[in-house]
């Protein structure tokens, strides 16, 4: 029924199956929307946040999706600026994932603030000294860039592309994509960094506070670096999951491998820097405020020292070593383990830099504060996931997200179906790559 919309040369599941899938995920989405409306109309009392946990699950989710969404800017950077051509096959998907992550981040922020209708005050009454101001500006701008990067893909939909205006628009946008990629990378550097700065500048919170250069604490650079390092892993992870779900090979191994390799080296350098930072913080910064390392990691099982071991050793060094070795990259299981660990690692880092910062008492007579999210918080956090799945499903079905898909998955028409195939949809014809 919707075959006219489906890209040429690829096979998609029947519409009813697709709708069933969208419907199922849609229910989750609606649950999230309901929770979101509750938060907007009844206020943030719907959450389990409190005056000690002013930042909680949402801010973590926000930081995490931005971190893993970092695959978009970094892949773009590699593809357009450093000219890594192999990545053209994954760049569309990277952009789509980035778009989902950043739109989710903005949505979460809109739910998280106590006065959503005044959210624009951050621009209007901007305090340039605040890391959050920097985040807001760069985040919004970069979201604009991602939209511009995503738009040509939408315009490549078979029906839209028929309109000459859109066809030309899409073509021309591809021409200048390098400019946007550069802009995106620049913006990302700052907002990823300033998100790191959000925690690092808190000189009232010795657990978060880091020294640094000029106005930027070390977390500023660590966050950018870790997003660049682990973001591509998330892109690979989602690609691999998509391949599993669609039971198709969608991206050529060389693209994945290259990205994995670069990612591996990035993770390694990042985690060395993180280790040095942690060491300096534990032996110099924190003690100067009267804290020993273990005071931050005691009192309860949730925030035990295991969290530091997990973040740095298990989710840092292990994936790095897997991905920088050829053997590791060639081993499918190894890659799976590495990308999953890397994604967990960066999410854990964001968790610690948000939630544990809130949990650790600073005044000697204060106490550890633990928190668990309310269902409304969980639902609104799952909302972007459901939204992402739906957007990926729709994009995958109707847009030529994977330029090599048709080439790698030739359709073998069954006798009775062969007649139905339009002459123009000859299997040997390569799909128009997004950037063509």
């Amino acid at each position: 029924m919707d075959s006219a919309l489906i890209p040429k040369g690829v096979k998609r599941c029947p519409l009813w199956q697709f709708l069933l899938f969208i419907g199922a995920v849609g229910i989750v989405l609606l649950w999230g929307v309901y929770a979101m409306l509750l938060c907007w109309f009844k206020g943030l009392n719907q959450t389990n946040m409190n005056d000690y946990y002013g930042f909680a699950l949402w801010i973590w989710a926000d930081l995490a999706v931005i971190a893993v969404g970092g695959g978009a800017f970094f892949t773009g950077l590699l593809r357009y600026i450093f000219g890594k051509d192999e990545l053209k096959n994954i760049i569309n998907y990277a952009v789509l994932i980035g778009f989902i992550c950043y739109s989710s981040a903005l949505l979460i922020l809109a739910i998280d603030i106590g006065q959503p209708l005044r959210g624009w005050f951050i621009f209007w009454h901007a305090n340039v000294h605040s890391m959050l101001t920097e985040v807001a500006f760069c985040l919004s701008c970069y979201f604009g860039v991602l939209t511009i990067e995503y738009l040509p893909l939408v315009l490549e939909n078979r029906q839209i592309d028929k309109v000459p205006f859109f066809h030309h628009l899409g073509h021309n946008m591809h021409e200048i994509m390098a400019v946007f990629a550069a802009t995106g990378a620049f913006l990302s550097f700052f907002h990823q960094g300033s998100l790191g700065g959000v925690a690092g500048v808190l000189f009232g919170r010795p657990f978060a506070y880091r020294e640094g250069v000029f106005i930027w604490p070390w977390t500023f650079f660590l966050f950018t670096w870790s997003a660049a390092a682990c973001g591509p892993c998330f892109t690979i992870l989602v690609t691999k999951i998509t391949e599993k779900v669609t039971r198709k090979k969608l991206v050529k191994d060389n693209a994945i491998e290259l990205l994995a390799k670069i990612s591996g080296w990035m993770i390694l350098t990042y985690i060395i820097a993180k280790t040095v930072d942690t060491w300096y913080w534990a032996t110099v910064t924190a003690p100067s405020k009267g804290f020993t390392l273990m005071e931050f990691y005691s009192n309860n099982a949730l925030y035990g020292i295991w969290i530091l071991v997990a973040e740095i050793l298990i989710c840092g060094y292990i994936p790095a070593f897997i991905l920088i070795t050829k053997k590791g990259r060639k081993n499918p299981l190894g890659v799976w383990i590495a990308i999953i660990l890397a994604v967990i690692g960066v999410c854990l880092n964001r968790w610690v830099m948000v939630l544990q910062v809130m949990a650790v008492p600073v005044m000697t007579f204060d106490h550890w504060a633990l928190y668990y999210p309310s269902w409304q918080e969980v639902a609104t956090t799952i909302l972007p996931v459901a939204y992402g799945v739906i957007l990926i499903a729709i994009s995958y079905r109707y847009l030529p997200v994977f330029p090599n898909e048709a080439e790698m998955n030739p359709i073998e028409p069954l006798p009775e179906e062969a007649a139905a195939i339009e002459p123009s949809m000859a299997p040997e014809q390569e799909l128009t790559p997004a950037e063509a």
């Binding site: 002013g54 106590g114 006065q115 005044r118 808190l202 009232g204 600073v362």
Partner: protein
């Protein structure tokens, strides 16, 4: 640090005198139209601009000792004037540092509730309006017009009763623009304290009691020179304007974090 403020309003709380009665908390609530709810036992959701903490020396019976510590907003100056932990992070300039008074303000109508300032404050002096403030029918009659009730979704905190400063200034202006006298601007908690444990005044003014009591070293971040005086979390560089006095060593020690080899004394614990 340069001390370039006209005034530097600050508070000295004598913990030897403080009885932990909580009158300062209520005086503050009554003065500043602080809302209340049916269950206020979750202290992480309870708006108390002034909160009295209970400290415990952690020793077993009968060596146990407790001490109360009232905690208003510290009105931090930071390492350089105006670099308070919260003021520096507010993305919308909804909280600001008064260069004339040293008081950290909060503009409720500008705050959009991101709560970054709360995350930045190690004293937990900042509170979020998780709920709409609701007064039982008729009770809104006692609301003071000098302090606007806050709407849901914004952050609020102690203002050192800034409106009292404005009223006093207005009065002084009408009296021919004279200088404010020490007793003309006093916070509600200071005024109410049954034990006279709170003293309020201008730390810059050597004639004011607060200055005489703690002898702040204004060249060095306002460090107290009175050996019995201390500030909370002095080492973080927040440079608070609230000083505490105590003759008991364990209490002074509880004011900040120390490494084990820095001091022999056991750290106090919360809630015994």
């Amino acid at each position: 640090m340069k001390n370039n403020l006209n005034h530097r309003f600050g508070m000295v709380i004598d913990l030897d005198k403080c009885t932990g009665c909580g009158s300062c908390m209520v005086a503050c609530m009554a003065e500043n139209n602080v809302p209340f709810r049916k269950d206020e036992s979750d202290k992480l959701l309870s708006i108390t601009w002034m909160r009295v903490f209970r400290l415990n020396n952690g020793k077993p019976f009968p060596e146990t000792d407790i001490c109360y510590l009232p905690r208003p907003c510290m009105q931090c100056a930071g390492l350089h004037e105006g670099h308070s932990p919260c003021v520096s992070v507010c993305p919308a300039t909804a909280t600001d540092y008064g260069m004339e008074t040293g008081i950290v303000s909060q503009i409720y109508t500008r705050c959009f509730g991101c709560r970054y300032c709360m995350a930045s404050c190690p004293y937990h002096s900042r509170y979020f309006n998780w709920w709409d403030p609701i007064w039982p029918d008729g009770m809104e009659k006692y609301l003071s017009p000098n302090v606007s009730p806050r709407m849901r979704g914004v952050v609020e905190k102690c203002s050192f009763c800034y409106h009292r400063y404005q009223l006093a200034k207005d009065k002084a202006f009408m009296d021919g623009g004279r200088e404010l006298k020490e007793n003309e601007y006093q916070t509600a908690c200071t005024q109410a304290c049954p034990a006279n444990a709170i003293t309020f005044g201008d730390l810059n003014n050597p004639d004011h009691a607060v200055h005489r009591m703690v002898k702040p070293d204004l060249e060095h971040g306002g460090r107290p020179q009175n050996p019995h005086a201390f500030r909370l979390l002095e080492r973080l560089g927040t440079n608070p304007k609230v000083y505490y006095l105590s003759s008991r060593k364990w209490i002074r020690h509880a004011g900040d974090n120390y490494l084990k080899n820095e001091a022999k004394m056991k750290k106090p614990v919360h809630h015994g």
